[in-house]
Amino acid sequence: MAQQLQTGPAEGGNGLFGRFSARPTPDPSNPGCAGGPRSLTVRSSQRNSDSSTNLTAHDGVKGRLTDKSANHLTSKHAHDLGIDDPLPPSPNQKPGKFPKIRTRINKANKKEFTDTLEKILQDPNTEVFPGVSIRKIKSHGYYTEDYSEFGFFVGIHTEGEFAGQIINAQPVGEKQLDFLRELNTLN
């Protein structure tokens, strides 16, 4: 079930590489779910309408957290950093052993999430992963054991459309940590 890396225009209009010059670096060690090159679709947006927060890490690297990124990451991972404000489960959600959690997106939660990311980035004990590949895109990464119940990673893209932006902020399990340490790759 090998897929093609979409390097031309996406369906129906301007594709990523039709509009932006930098391309993600294909990473042979990170083949994606299908085992072959993974389809990569990055959505375009009205970049100017988005506000940002600039954070500086302990090694001097700067990362920009846009408002849209903060919404996305807060919803998915704020609970991993101890922010306990989940949305109620949807009516059709099946009861399960591992209920899904979406953190409510509001100013207070986003601020707390952003402040915690800043603490992680500024902590000199946070391990740095220069050149880490996150879904085939070169990035600068930070890993800490001291946040979340099983380690937490923050990644700043260093190439492509989102260079300079904080794109990843997620907990890291044992396998993911092994990927990081052995292959300098995440996800």
């Binding site: 959505r43 919404n71 396998k175 996800n187």
Partner: protein, 152 residues
């Protein structure tokens, strides 16, 4: 001292360091790597022990009974829930860890970690410009996961 005893000794050492605000990674990187390899095996086996959760989720998504967004959050909840459970077992130095020490399914762990990345990158909101996976990618992931788990 056999492998199992060595493993529990390392877990104990790691926990003691943590209690003293120290890290095994910093204090003894070689021991950290040894422990990490074993923990990866245990994690793989724990994921496999919950395979029915993954199978039902993948089936629901492929049958369009849940949305791609629901799939992404639910998959991450299972994955993180298992990692959390493992973290607690390690903290407690649970003897149950010994039941998951035998290497068995390394490919499953690789696949699950990559699917986690796809789920993490997904958003149904077109305004979320950092979203880098789409519904088709998640469907592919669900299909591959189902095949992988049902062949074992």
């Amino acid at each position: 001292m056999n492998q199992q005893q060595k493993f529990f000794k390392l877990v104990k050492y790691s926990n003691e360091l943590k209690k003293n605000k120290k890290s095994l990674l910093k204090e003894d990187p070689e021991a950290f790597d040894t422990l990490l390899k074993v923990m990866v095996t245990i994690e793989d086996n724990l994921h496999y022990s919950e395979k029915q959760e993954y199978i039902e989720l993948a089936k629901d998504f492929l049958a369009d009974q849940i949305t791609a967004d629901d799939f992404s959050y639910s998959f991450m909840a299972i994955y993180e829930g298992i990692s959390r459970k493992l973290g607690q077992m390690k903290k407690d130095e649970s003897l149950e860890l010994a039941n998951f020490l035998k290497p068995s399914r390394p490919e499953l762990g690789d696949l699950l970690a990559r699917i986690y990345g796809s789920c993490d990158s997904f958003s149904p909101d077109p305004e979320v410009d950092i979203a880098m996976s789409d519904e088709k990618e998640l469907k592919d992931c669900a299909q591959i996961l189902l095949v992988k788990l049902q062949e074992e």
